[in-house]
Symmetry: C2
Subunit: 141 residues, 2 copies
DNA sequence: TTAATAAGAGATTTTTTTGTCTTTTATTGT
DNA sequence: ACAATAAAAGACAAAAAAATCTCTTATTAA
């Protein structure tokens, strides 16, 4: 479903949502250590998210990454599409050129349900709200 | 979700289920052309399926690939696990080391529910039956 | 104003996946 | 027997994804 880079991106954003803020920035090193993820690779991913204004950063001492209030209004769908491109949620599970209910492949019905269920959550839940639920339910990242 | 090889495998098996039989074998060349898939790559995949007794083949003139009655009783789950390994349907969508409802990641509920939907179909529908539905509903492969 | 810090950017390497080509082996019809 | 056929197997190449390293730029605090 998601590329490795995208998995790291989601986890990093959620980590920032829970552990960082305007006043408490976190460096790549810390995130990478906390998530047990390759440091330099994560750095690249965070750069890309930052360029697309999905996360915020400042350089220099006491600098690092965090989520602004604006950033918290975005969704994980934005994050996913930033890393894996815009077609993640509308391409055929068997790789056929078009995925549609009019011209379905043999797995379309189930695959579509799967994708849409996930898509819906990722699209309609703000990252800020998601973070609150993660803390409340003590979920793993 | 599935590797390219696995997508090709599923499509090839379904193609054989619909278009081949003990009495009407089909060669890699024909399958590759019909599915618009790289020929040599597909050959490798078919070999692997054949070694694992998920499809049947004979060498020599008028030889080729087909599905025996036994083969038709297998499921696409078997095909998928033969190519992509046994963990496809029980690994965390975020790549966390364990996926369980006791220790869920933030996407677990949705990911699990819909993954299971797909898993269920692939596990409980024999390839032979699936082929009949494909013909009946004129689905694309 | 300078040394230390941390992200940004670029280049490079490693690994995995995908795709191709060649040789061998088995089978069949002549 | 033999030429033709087609899969099996092995080696190889190309492309993509993942991961690493180095250098640059901005910022801050002493
Ligand atoms: S057509 Fe294949 S998943 Fe929709
Ligand atoms: S724990 Fe992540 S999908 Fe189940």
């Amino acid at each position: 479903m998601f590329s490795q880079a995208c998995k790291y991106a989601i986890r990093a954003v959620l980590y920032l949502a829970v552990h960082a803020s305007e006043g408490k920035k976190v460096g790549v090193k810390d995130i990478a250590a906390a998530l047990d993820v390759p440091k330099y690779f994560l750095a690249k991913i965070l750069q890309q998210l930052s360029r697309n204004n999905l996360i915020s950063s400042t350089k220099g001492p006491s600098g690092g990454f965090f989520l602004s209030e604006k950033n918290r209004e975005a969704t994980l769908k934005d994050v996913v599409e930033c890393i894996d491109g815009p077609d993640v949620f509308n391409s055929c599970i068997l790789g056929l050129p078009i995925c549609s209910s009019e011209n379905p492949c043999p797995l379309h019905v189930q695959a579509f349900a799967y994708r849409e269920g996930l898509h819906y959550q990722l699209k309609h839940q703000a990252i800020g709200d998601l973070a609150k639920r993660i803390e409340r339910e003590e979920q793993k990242i």
